[in-house]
Symmetry: C2
């Protein structure tokens, strides 16, 4: 995998288990056992997914006795959202109004 932040972010999001974990954490902090409960998967597998998310800075982890609560660090998603938004005009019809407006203005002022 590439080592830049955006690549790590997208790579971390490319697994449905990890996206589900982020969804859980949007409800609040959770321990590894909490997180693992809904999945038909071993605890070490979940632990590895959490490591991927942590290396991507999508979560951070604390320490409370033998528990390592994980919490969402959603700000890491901002650059990914911004990157995709750079392409929004290529698909989102709500940009057509703006495009039409710009086209009309151009026709009116620079019609040569």
């Amino acid at each position: 995998m590439a080592t830049d932040q955006l690549s790590r972010t997208f790579a971390a999001l490319s697994d449905p288990t990890r996206r589900a974990i982020l969804a859980m954490l949007s409800q609040g902090e959770a321990t590894v056992n909490d997180i693992a409960a809904p999945f038909e998967m071993s605890l070490p597998a979940i632990s590895k997914h959490l490591q991927v998310l942590e290396r991507a800075a999508l979560i951070s982890r604390g320490r409370d006795a033998q528990w390592r609560p994980a919490r969402l660090n959603a700000v890491t998603l901002a650059p990914a959202a911004d990157w995709i938004d750079g392409y929004r005009r290529f698909w989102d019809r709500s940009f057509d109004a703006l495009d039409d407006q710009l086209t009309s203005e151009e026709k009116g002022t620079t019609n040569d």
Copy 2:
């Protein structure tokens, strides 16, 4: 890699070469040689990246004699953008105004 569409989309975006290819294609169609030119990478390597992008439905490809022009299929990005937007309130300060407003209304109307 997981086989669902969202996972394929994020996985395809997790490589900087592929993101650069999408950026090129946002300027218009291009052939494999066109696309490969700026990269210090063999033609087969670029061909493989294009295959990943095509399997993810981020590009589509035509045929013009021995050329296979690729073009951007940005609508595939919409579900990825929507997914990330579901987390925007966890980082975007522009949502704070909305949050504050909702909190104030709640205080004013259901203060028990």
